[in-house]
């Protein structure tokens, strides 16, 4: 059964806000009429008073609403709801009264509205910040639980990964091993293959679009390439699973050697195609940001177009291009859907792109899906992996931003 009370409470709060606005505005307007000769800018004042009142009423109402919602519990009684209703009407009513009492010519409503807007925006910014802190905190906490069972060194430097732990004591063949090296090696192998595809292709696309393409070509080609970025990664995963993987396997069969359909090569290739638009559009931006005057100077010194491109444009844009690459790498490392669909789950420590490898994201998904005891090392291992992944991408992003910022300063 649907409980309508919370919805009506919100409507009541909204109605009270409108009421407070009208009442305060009316009172302030009447007062302005009396003081019209003494103030210089009287006509805006009622609006500021009314806004302030409405905002305060809204704040009080929402606060009472949330407190009520939290205190209400799963099975509310009519009496509890009556108290809630009374509070949600009386609280804002008291605030409205306070505001009405404060409608005086010497009350700086406008400055307070300004102050409230500032505080409100700061609070919203804080929400984003606190969420991040909360996520990192929970990652660290769960990972620390994991590291109570498995030593950090074994985790970071162990070369054997088989996270099946015995559910009952004495169960055979289920000894957990949490050496994460093969998992990270798999991630890096796939990322490397993806970058081998995406870096040169993306860069060439960017150079073509920014330096050679006519504006008409550009108007068509740039959105077309960016469509690639709009394809959901599950579609890429599907493509890797049923087309590219088997294609590479069949080609290898034909050449006479056996290759897994889940080879790192297939996954990396598809992932590379997926991040081409990221590399090309970021690089395109930085190449176009190189001032035309530098190109002209180089041309006037007798450099050809490609010499100018190589020696001036590319050199000037290099920090930005490196930044683009780093962002693409962190995207590839964190990519989940393609690898979950098309990569292996078994952790093999190998540098051979034709072997099947697993990645950090695949393992996290594998560890957390299915029926699990939540405090087993097996489940907690996912948080440890997540933490390390987070640290790696964080460092890459910080590095990318630092490089890009240094570049920005240079032309100012």
């Amino acid at each position: 059964m649907i409980d309508p009370a919370p919805f009506y409470m919100i409507v009541i709060v909204a109605a009270l806000m409108v009421g407070a606005y009208r009442m305060v505005h009316g009172r302030a307007a009447r007062m302005v009429a009396e003081f019209r000769t003494e103030t210089t800018l009287p006509d805006a004042q009622p609006r500021h008073h009314a806004r302030l009142a409405a905002a305060l009423v809204g704040l009080a109402g929402v606060a009472i609403y949330l407190i009520g919602l939290a205190a209400r519990g799963g099975d509310p009684t009519l009496a509890e709801d009556a108290v809630w209703l009374a509070a949600i009407v009386l609280g804002p009513a008291a605030v409205t009264g306070l505001c009405l009492a404060n409608v005086r010519p010497d009350f700086a409503a406008r400055a307070r509205v300004e102050y409230m807007a500032e505080t409100g925006l700061m609070a919203l910014a804080l929400v984003a910040l606190l969420t991040t802190v909360g996520i990192v905190g929970s990652l660290v906490f769960e990972a620390s639980l994991f590291f109570r069972n498995v030593s950090v060194l074994d985790f970071l430097f162990g070369t054997h990964w088989s996270p099946q732990t015995p559910i009952r004591a004495g169960q055979a063949g289920q000894s957990g091993a949490f050496g994460a090296v093969p998992v990270f090696a798999g991630t890096f192998l796939v990322t490397l293959i993806a970058m081998v595809v995406a870096a040169p292709v993306g860069l060439m696309v960017a150079i073509y679009l920014s330096e050679y393409a006519s504006s008409r070509t550009r108007a068509v080609a740039k959105p077309a390439i960016e469509v690639l970025a709009g394809i959901p990664s599950v579609v890429y995963g599907f493509f890797a699973l049923i087309s590219v993987g088997p294609l590479i396997r069949d080609a290898a069969d034909w050449l006479g050697f056996g290759v897994s359909a889940q080879s790192a090569l297939a996954v990396g290739l598809v992932m590379g195609v997926m991040i081409i638009p990221l590399v090309s559009s970021l690089s395109d931006d930085v190449i176009r940001a190189v001032p035309q005057s530098l190109r002209n100077s180089s041309t006037a010194l007798g450099a050809t177009r490609s010499e100018t491109l190589k020696r001036v444009v590319f050199r000037s844009a290099l920090p930005g291009i490196i930044g683009a690459f780093l962002l693409a790498i962190s995207r590839a490392i964190g990519e989940t859907m393609i690898v979950v669909m098309a990569a292996s789950r078994a952790a093999t420590l190998t540098g051979n792109p034709f072997d099947a490898v697993t990645t950090v994201t695949v393992q996290i998904v594998a560890l957390l899906t299915g029926d699990q005891v939540f405090d087993s090392p097996r489940t907690l291992a996912a948080f440890a992996l997540g933490l390390v992944l987070f640290v790696i991408t964080l460092l890459l992003n910080i590095g990318a931003l630092a490089v890009v910022n240094r570049y920005r300063v240079r032309f100012e």
Partner: protein
């Protein structure tokens, strides 16, 4: 016109169009070598377009079209067998706003010689860099910090640096497009003294908005108006005894 110096550039019926609009119309001009020639005129009169005719920088603008005949030392520089890239190596250019490459002072000056393979050894390159910086009057200020990033220099120093950069490939001609417009009076005075020195070695063509500057530094002055060359004469004569009423109006400040 009395000429004691050989003619460097001779233009006949030179017109420049940008798309449908005409920037320069049937200009005939003979520019003497080892001399400073100033191009003056109100904004949009075509003086920059004329300047860019001499090193074919108009080619870089996609809808620009140059017609007529321009000869440098008697050779048609718009002939199909002339490589504009090689022409630009002989005709250097300094722009209105200095645009040093975001690299070191040394690398900026060494850019041209490296590009054209002028220095086989490091010692020769060092020599070229030093000579160019000396000619541009910048050596004493930067000799101890050749490896500092060039964009960190002051604007006046940057303008002399880009001048040194064009001198490093040893051109015959230096084109200057309002080189002093972003400089303060002291830096402008330095640049003008430098131009005075350089004209013994190079043919210099300078576009300027300042008639006082044209009068101070140039030997010949061309006055352009609405895409046409109104008057071209020795600077002294043009400023003291202009033949055309429009020239007189412009130099006396009646318009422009």
């Amino acid at each position: 016109m009395v000429e004691d110096k050989p003619i460097k550039f001779s233009g006949r019926c030179v017109s420049v169009h940008y798309g449908a609009s005409r920037a320069l119309h049937n200009v005939d001009i003979d520019i003497p070598d080892r001399n400073v020639t100033a191009l003056i005129g109100p904004s949009g009169c075509g003086k920059s377009s004329l300047l860019r005719v001499f090193n074919r920088m108009n080619d870089v603008i996609s809808n620009a079209r140059v017609t007529g005949e321009v000869r440098m030392d008697g050779i048609d520089i718009y002939a199909p067998d002339v490589d504009p890239v090689l022409l630009r190596a002989r005709v250097g250019m300094v722009f209105q706003k200095p645009a040093p490459f975001p690299r070191s002072v040394y690398e900026n000056v060494a850019y041209g010689p490296r590009l054209h393979g002028l220095a086989r050894t490091k010692a020769r390159l060092d020599m070229l860099v030093e000579r160019s910086l000396r000619r541009a009057g910048l050596w004493d200020e930067v000799k101890d910090r050749l490896s500092m990033p060039a964009p960190g220099l002051s604007v006046g120093q940057q303008q002399r640096l880009v001048l040194a950069r064009s001198l490093a490939i040893d051109p015959d001609v230096i084109l200057m497009d309002e080189p002093a417009s972003s400089l303060d009076p002291i830096a402008t005075a330095r640049l003008e003294a430098l131009i005075e020195e350089l004209k013994t070695r190079y043919c210099i063509i300078i576009v300027t908005h300042s008639m006082a500057q044209a009068a101070r530094i140039s030997d010949h002055t061309a006055f352009l108006h609405k895409g046409e060359l109104i008057e071209f004469d020795q600077t002294e004569r043009l400023f003291t005894n202009p033949a055309d009423i429009r020239t007189q109006d412009y130099i006396t400040g009646r318009f422009g």
